[in-house]
């Protein structure tokens, strides 16, 4: 009380000093402060803080779960991509195999066809050869006949009765050969 009354006008109950140093109010303030703090502590430690801690932990858990899920999904996608790539590669190699097979088949068919055609051509050529030979033979024969007739005619014209057909024929044949 000494401090409060120090700056106060004498006799004035509400001194213009510092109410902070009015010790008569101390027990009151301290009592209510203790009450307040106890109530606050009970509210905080029983309700508010555990609740906030739970919420924070749950959020952390949720975030972790989501991250894990995302990781898993990413792995699944990766697997799918790998499978796709593998399937693609398989299909490619299979396709090239099929192409090679088809190529071989076609080549075989082609070879066969070419061989057949070659044989046919050869047969035809032989036939033609024969025909040409025959034509050539008959032509040669015709030439000989024409030559004999012409010779006989010439001989008859030059010297009638001078030769017989037999000797003319022999002479012409000898000439044609020579």
């Amino acid at each position: 009380m000494a401090d409060t009354s120090h700056g106060a006008a004498p006799g004035a109950e509400s001194a213009p000093g510092m109410p902070q140093l009015d010790f008569s109010t101390f027990p009151n303030q301290i009592f209510w402060l203790v009450v307040t703090l106890v109530i606050l502590y009970l509210i905080l430690s029983r309700v508010a803080l555990p609740r906030i801690a739970t919420v924070l932990a749950e959020r952390q858990g949720a975030i972790q779960r989501d991250l894990d899920k995302a990781e898993e999904l990413k792995r699944t996608a990766q697997d799918a991509e790998d499978a796709y790539n593998k399937a693609l590669a398989d299909a490619r190699s299979q396709a090239s195999e099929i192409v090679a097979e088809a190529k071989a088949d076609i080549q075989k068919d082609l070879d066969k066809a070419i061989a057949k055609a070659d044989a046919e051509i050869a047969a035809k050529a032989a036939e033609s050869e024969k025909a040409i030979q025959a034509i050539r033979d008959s032509a040669a024969k015709s030439v000989a006949e024409v030559a004999q007739t012409a010779t006989a005619d010439i001989v008859n014209a030059v010297m009638p009765n001078a030769a017989d057909a037999k000797s003319i024929k022999a002479a012409v044949t000898a000439r044609l050969k020579g």
Binding site: S14, V34, A48
Partner: protein
């Protein structure tokens, strides 16, 4: 002071706002009287309940604004204790959080015009500081036994200096609750008193009242800052003292 004011025609009573008044019945203030201090402590409880209990009632994964603030405070104090006093300090988290939230909310409630600021009273802050001081001292001896006295024996100093340092350390240890409490009450009280003085000027200056009103606005902004910072300072010092009790080696 009173005569000076009367001489200038001013009628400024910057300290009246801190007066403790019995709200019912009047008369002398007994320890159980319901005073304006009681009322505003009750409002502090109400504000804390609104913010930390009602505000978090949805327990949402994506927090609302009030839940977000509550979580921020929780994380802020939790991290502060862990950083300053280590993991063992977390056992005292509810106590420290109680101190922090009471001082913070009281400081901010005190900034409402015509309100009463409970933390501007040395009785309140000294009680808080003494509670911290006694708790930390008892805890220090309980945890470390006589080794707690090693806090005063600076083993890194030259041997000859150690007794002198021990005396200084001892004095500084016992001055802790004083500085701890006066820092808080002084800061809060000074700001409120300054605002009140400016308000008194404004009432007497007529047109020129704009000047003190601007000053009030500026000081009020500063006071909002101080309200938060002093709650923070009180709490972090509590953590520092707690750390000394848990790990007294220098």
């Amino acid at each position: 002071m009173a005569t000076e004011e009367a001489g200038n025609g001013f009628n400024i009573h910057p300290m009246d706002q801190f007066e403790i008044k019995s709200l019912f019945g009047g008369g002398p203030i007994e320890w159980y009287s319901f005073t304006n201090a009681t009322l505003w402590m009750g409002f502090a409880i109400l504000a804390v309940v609104l913010l930390l209990v009602v505000g978090t009632r949805k327990r949402a994964i994506v927090p609302s604004r009030s839940q977000s603030v509550a979580e921020m405070m929780y994380g802020f104090i939790h991290k502060m204790i862990e950083d300053v006093a280590g993991k063992e300090g977390l056992k005292f988290f509810p106590y420290i959080f109680t101190l922090f939230i009471f001082i913070l909310v009281s400081n901010f409630l005190g900034l409402l015009p015509t309100s009463f600021t409970t933390t501007s009273h040395i009785a309140v802050t000294a009680m808080l500081a003494m509670a911290v001081f006694v708790a930390v001292t008892v805890l220090g001896f309980y945890k470390n036994g006589m080794k707690f006295l090693g806090l005063f024996w600076v083993s890194s100093a030259p041997l000859a200096l150690r007794p002198i340092l021990a005396v200084i350390e001892l004095i500084s240890y016992f001055v802790r609750p004083v500085s701890h409490s006066i820092r808080l009450a002084g800061n809060v009280m000074a700001g409120h008193a300054v605002i009140k003085v400016f308000a008194g000027f404004a009432g007497a200056l007529g047109v020129w009242a704009a000047l003190p009103i601007l000053s009030i606005t500026a000081v009020y902004g500063l006071e909002v800052l101080v309200a938060g910072i002093q709650a923070y300072v009180f709490t972090i010092l509590t953590c520092v003292y707690l750390n000394d009790a848990l790990h007294p080696s220098h």
